[in-house]
Structure formats: structure tokens, C-alpha cells
């Protein structure tokens, strides 16, 4: 989603965009470090290091360029955001990730479903979690039984 609102007359350094520039530089540094310390593999004329070094070099340049644009405030203006919903959804994804292999697909995904709905303002959780689990259970039956996809089973899935 690009934001085409042009920057207003008062351009100030964009701190968040400066952070982006720093992150890009860090990514480039990690690639250089990791490539420089790698060993093993056979040596060829153009070894496994050439491409990573080129990419990290370009990322450094882009990082500096980003820094300049950020300093001049050239980045598109950003609308104010609410972070509550983001935390709910990220939390839901994290919960599913951690619970998946212990409680099975349906329960873990049901929690993700309810947390996402909560992020969009739908409550209460004691209603949405069962809905989510029921829906995920149906999805599990279709995909694990019908399409032979290997989805982790838990107590609920072992019932059938």
C-alpha cells in the first residue's frame, strides 16, 4: 500500500525512517560477517562469497540513500496507527506457533482465529475461541483427512 500523500512544507528528519536505514546497514553487516566467517565447500573461481558481498554492498548504498531521504523527510507521511490490534494478532500467531505441536491444529488455530477477531474488535473471547476451534476442526478434517495434508493432531483430533 503506497501512500501518495506528499510531504508537507515543513520537512523534518524522519526518525523512524532513519531506523530503517540503520536496519538495512545492519542486514548488510550481518551478510558480510556471516560470509566472511563461513568455511567449507569447494573453492571455485567465483566462489560462494561473491554474490553475498555484492548484495551487502548494494544494501549499504541503499541504507545511506535511505538515511539521506529520511534526513530530508522525503518519506511519504504515515497515518497514525493503533498498536493494540497489532499486538492481538501477533500474539495470536505466536500462541498458535507455540501451542501447535502440543494441543494440535484445531485448538491452536482456534486461538489464533479468536485473537485476530479480537484485533478487529470482535469479542468476547469465550465465544470466539469455541467458534474458532470448531472452524479449525472442520478445516482439519477437510485438509488432513480429505487432502492428506499432515496437520498436527492433538487431543481433539484424536477423537476421530
Amino acid at each position: 500500500m503506497t501512500n501518495n500523500v506528499s510531504a508537507s512544507a515543513t520537512r523534518r528528519p524522519d526518525r523512524a525512517a532513519l531506523v530503517v536505514a540503520v536496519v538495512l546497514a545492519l542486514v548488510a553487516a550481518v551478510i558480510v560477517y556471516s560470509t566472511a566467517t563461513a568455511h567449507g565447500g569447494s573453492t571455485t573461481r567465483i566462489g560462494p562469497g561473491a554474490f553475498p558481498y555484492t548484495i551487502s554492498g548494494c544494501l549499504f548504498v541503499l541504507s545511506v540513500w535511505t538515511g539521506i531521504e529520511a534526513w530530508r523527510g522525503d518519506f511519504p507521511e504515515r497515518e497514525a496507527q493503533e498498536f493494540g490490534p497489532v499486538i492481538w494478532i501477533v500474539g495470536g500467531l505466536a500462541a498458535q506457533m507455540l501451542l501447535l505441536n502440543t494441543v494440535g491444529f484445531s485448538i491452536a488455530t482456534g486461538i489464533l482465529f479468536a485473537a485476530t477477531a479480537r484485533g478487529f474488535g470482535k469479542r468476547p473471547l469465550w465465544k470466539t475461541i469455541p467458534i474458532g476451534i470448531a472452524l479449525s476442526f472442520v478445516v482439519w478434517i477437510i485438509f488432513a483427512k480429505g487432502l492428506q495434508l499432515s496437520l498436527p493432531a492433538g487431543p481433539l483430533e484424536h477423537l476421530i
Binding site: 551478510i31 565447500g41 571455485t44 560462494p48 554474490f51 504515515r78 484485533g119 478445516v139 495434508l149
Partner: protein, 505 residues
């Protein structure tokens, strides 16, 4: 064998009852998912990839063809009935189509979009069948140096040429290229950027990245936006059929849209948007009633919608003949091929003609099915549009994670999905385009292979990269793709380019 014999063989594959069934499932699922607001064709294809995991290659690709065309159709329905287009290529359709729907002419708008898409899909797919063997013959003479130059050109057009910032396009591309480095180096067997984590040795999955960036990133940014939303679904009143005037005003835009859209899609230029905008302005200039534009002119739906579908078929030209994805959708389709160990490109036409031609034939079959299915099922699609947002996005995330879990049910893979999802949100927040990240991930390792192969053959002599006229032309075009937009933007003409942004598709 000439093209038509090959195509006839393709139809023998496509018309097998099981394959017809796969195509039907594909178009139905593709349309149903594509209709959902906020889901473009790229995400449709990525979300539905797991459905095809357990099929044989031919059946899977046939279902894929249906999903792709169905997703394109679904998007136009969304943009006509709801003023938030499901895919950026449908923005133009929304301009006139939504106005028509408000004026109670939603039926004919949907009909001209559907029939226009059919006409364009038919002509463009036949164009694909006709042009492919020629390009394949040409491409067989390409060496690694030419392929490398071609990929550089694709990188630059996808990232830098369009969109509102060269810097952000290039940054997105290089992030994708950096992610493409992760894993075992194919030529020397050395692990790169794996940090000793076994899960990373296989590299980053294209589908994981695409689903995370598109589905999770989009969900997060919609949830975070303080947007009350006045999304109003326009009811379809009256007949869905077009009257005589509608027909006479539609058929020329369909054909013109096809002629504009197909070459743009077929060139490694990326994005269906350019064609739709061009078609819109052409129709506006040629219209007998230009005053209707902006108030629901049927030409403004017919032309761009045809251009949209023609260029979608056009993107399959570089994908199938050269193995070169120029859009995020094509990148995911390439991943779909690779899961069966198939590498699209000139050799695939020689080694697996039944798959390639079966796929092309099923595109035609899918196109026909959509025409038959779409108008009668409008009522169902409208009902899908009215799903409340909280259930819609909750469902999207269930299916987004389902794909990753189905491919690899590990905590680590889900962690990557989450991390890339957050990255997708941040990219959107700062106005970075998404497609170059996905294209960079899949094309980066391929470009590196070609580069090192070229240099191995030349024994390290880098002049081999500019050793042939074709390679030189391609590299010059690549430089132009970066420099010309920079100059245009510097001279204040960037508005047009940012309108042509190839973002979602």
C-alpha cells in the same frame, strides 16, 4: 509438430474428466477467494497452493491455472460492487464500475467485465500458444550471460521502473535477494547465512514469504489503520444482461484492451496495472460520450478489465518460455512448478510438452468455465463480500498459517511466517512495494547460478557478460529502467509513475 497439433494434444490432457474437475475446483476456489476484499491474485494463488500439494503435477498445474484466472475475475467483482478493489490492477475498474453499480447498472458492469475478461483471456491465451514456440526457439540460443542480463532487466523493471520511489523499489528487491542467499549454495555446498540452524539450510520458502508479506502484513496494516470504513456493497439491481447499446459500446474496448494488455504482460515489465491505466486513457479519448467518464462509462470497465486479463495471460509468456517471473503471482506459480521439480523455461517445452500444453489448454478451459459460472453465481459472490471484517481476516489468517503448517509443521517455520508478516507490515507502513521482495527471493539464486556459470565457462573473464549483442541490449534496457524514472521523478513527473505502481499483483 506445429502449434495447433501441440495445443490439440494439450486439450486431450485438459479435457480428461479428472482434469476438468480440477479446473472446475480451481476456478471456483479462485473466484471465491479472489472476491474477498483485500485479497489479490498473488495472495489467492499463495493461499490455495496447499490444496494442490497432493495432486500429480499436471492436475495441480491445471487447478492452478483455474485459480489464477478465477482470482482475476473475483477481483473485478469486488471492485465493481465495493469501492475497495481487491487487487491493484482493478483500481481502474473500480473507477467506472463502482459508479455504474451506484447508478443501478451493476449487472451490465459485471457482465461487460466478465465477457471482456473472457474475450481477452481467450485471445491472449491463444497469443501465448502462438508466440511461445518462437520465443522458446530463440531462448534456446541463450547462454548463461544472456540469461543473467535478462534477469537483471527483470529485477530493474520489477523494482525500480514503476512505483513512487526508485529507492524503496530497489531496497525491497535487495531485501528479497538477501533472503535468497539463505541456505546451501548449490554449486559448492557451502551453507550461507544459516547461522547453524538446520531449518535454514533449505532456504526461505517462497510461499512462506509471499503468504506472510501479503496475508499477514495486509491483515496487520488493515487492523492498525484507524479506519472506520464506509465500505458499502452496491446491490445488483435489475438484469445482469447487457442491452444492445452496452454490447456495441463494449466490444471495441474489449479488443483494444486485449491488444494493449497482452504485450505489456508479455514483456518483462511487471504488473498488469500499466495496461489497465493505458487502456482507460485510450478509451476515454476515443469515447463517443466522454462526458460519461467518471460517472459510470461502460467503456471504462470493458477496456481495462480486458487489458487486465490479457496482461495476466501475457505474464505467462516469460514465465513459461524463459522461467522468468515478472510479478509476485508469477513468482508463486514458479514455486508451484518447482515443488514438482519442474523448471519452467525452454527445456520444459521439450521435456514435458504434455504438461506445458495441457496447462495452456486448461487456461482456455478455465476461461470458458468462468464465463459460464460467473454471471449465474453473482449472488453467491455478493454474499461473500458481505462477510464482516473480523471473521474475514480471522479466516484469512487461519488459511495463511494452514499453508505453512501443511508444508512443514514446525515451530520454526511458523516463526518465520510471523517474522516476515511483521516485516510486511513495516514495509507497507513505509511505502515499500511488496512484489520485488518475492521476485528477488526466487530470481536471486537463479541469477547467481547463471552468473557463475557464465564466468566458469569464460574462466573468470567478466567481459563475457557483455559478450553478445543480446546481452548488451538487455543490460542497456536494465540501466534505462532505473535511470529514466529517476530523471522523470526529479523533473516532477513522478505522479504518473506512482499511479502505475506494480504493488500487489
Amino acid at each position: 509438430m506445429d502449434t495447433f497439433t501441440l495445443l490439440a494434444h494439450g486439450f486431450l490432457v485438459a479435457l480428461e474428466p479428472m482434469n476438468l474437475f480440477y479446473a472446475l475446483v480451481g476456478v471456483t476456489l479462485g473466484t471465491a477467494v479472489g472476491v474477498l476484499p483485500g485479497i489479490g491474485p498473488a495472495l489467492t494463488v499463495a493461499l490455495l497452493l496447499p490444496v494442490t500439494y497432493k495432486l500429480d503435477p499436471a492436475g495441480s498445474l491445471i487447478m492452478f491455472a483455474g485459480i489464477y484466472y478465477g482470482g482475476m475475475y473475483g477481483g473485478s467483482t469486488t471492485s465493481i460492487l465495493l469501492n475497495t478493489p481487491g487487487e491493484s490492477a482493478s483500481i481502474v475498474t473500480a473507477l467506472e464500475g463502482n459508479k455504474m453499480a451506484r447508478a443501478g447498472r451493476g449487472g451490465p458492469a459485471l457482465a461487460t467485465a466478465a465477457i471482456g475478461s473472457f474475450v481477452a483471456g481467450l485471445i491472449a491465451t491463444l497469443g501465448l500458444a502462438l508466440i511461445a514456440p518462437t520465443i522458446v526457439k530463440f531462448a534456446l540460443s541463450f547462454g548463461p550471460a544472456e540469461y543473467f542480463a535478462l534477469m537483471i532487466l527483470a529485477f530493474m523493471t520489477v523494482s525500480a521502473a514503476f512505483g513512487d520511489s526508485t529507492l524503496r523499489g530497489l531496497t525491497a528487491l535487495f531485501l528479497g535477494l538477501a533472503l535468497g542467499l539463505v541456505g546451501i549454495d548449490l554449486q559448492t555446498g557451502q551453507a550461507r547465512l544459516a547461522f547453524g540452524i538446520p531449518d535454514l539450510l533449505d532456504g526461505v520458502e517462497v510461499t512462506t514469504l509471499a503468504v506472510a508479506l501479503f496475508a499477514i502484513g495486509e491483515t496487520l496494516s488493515v487492523a492498525a489503520a484507524r479506519y472506520g470504513g464506509d465500505e458499502k456493497i452496491e446491490p445488483v439491481k435489475g438484469s445482469v444482461w447487457m442491452n444492445r447499446e452496452d454490447w456495441s459500446r463494449s466490444w471495441k474496448p474489449w479488443l483494444r484492451g486485449t491488444i494493449i494488455g497482452f504485450p505489456i504482460g508479455a514483456m518483462p515489465a511487471g504488473g498488469a496495472e500499466i495496461g489497465t491505466f493505458l487502456s482507460y486513457s485510450v478509451e476515454k479519448q476515443l469515447a463517443k460520450k466522454p462526458e460519461e467518464f467518471g460517472h459510470g462509462a461502460i467503456e471504462g470497465v470493458a477496456g481495462p478489465e480486458a487489458a487486465n486479463n490479457a496482461s495476466a495471460a501475457g505474464t505467462l509468456v516469460p514465465l513459461l518460455t524463459l522461467g522468468l517471473p515478472t510479478t509476485a503471482t508469477a513468482a508463486i506459480m514458479l514455486a508451484g512448478f518447482q515443488q514438482f521439480g519442474l523448471q519452467p523455461g525452454p527445456l520444459l517445452f521439450a521435456t514435458n510438452p504434455q504438461i506445458v500444453w495441457g496447462l495452456i489448454a486448461s487456461l482456455l478451459v478455465a476461461n470458458f468455465m468462468l464465463l459460464v459460472l460467473n454471471l449465474p453465481m453473482i449472488g453467491l459472490w455478493v454474499r461473500l463480500l458481505s462477510i464482516p471484517r473480523h471473521w474475514l481476516y480471522a479466516g484469512i489468517l487461519v488459511f495463511a498459517t494452514l499453508g505453512t503448517i501443511g508444508a512443514n509443521p514446525s515451530t520454526f517455520e511458523l516463526g518465520m511466517l510471523l517474522a516476515f508478516g511483521v516485516m510486511g507490515y513495516i514495509l507497507r507502513r513505509f511505502g515499500y512495494p511488496i512484489a520485488p521482495v518475492v521476485v528477488g527471493l526466487i530470481l536471486g539464486p537463479m541469477a547467481e547460478q547463471q552468473l557463475r556459470r557464465a564466468l566458469a565457462i569464460s574462466q573468470g573473464d567478466v567481459t563475457v557478460l557483455v559478450g553478445s549483442p543480446i546481452a548488451i541490449i538487455l543490460l542497456v534496457l536494465a540501466v534505462c529502467a532505473v535511470v529514466v524514472p529517476l530523471i522523470l521523478r526529479a523533473r516532477g513527473k513522478g505522479k504518473v509513475l506512482s499511479q502505475l505502481a506494480a504493488n500487489e499483483d
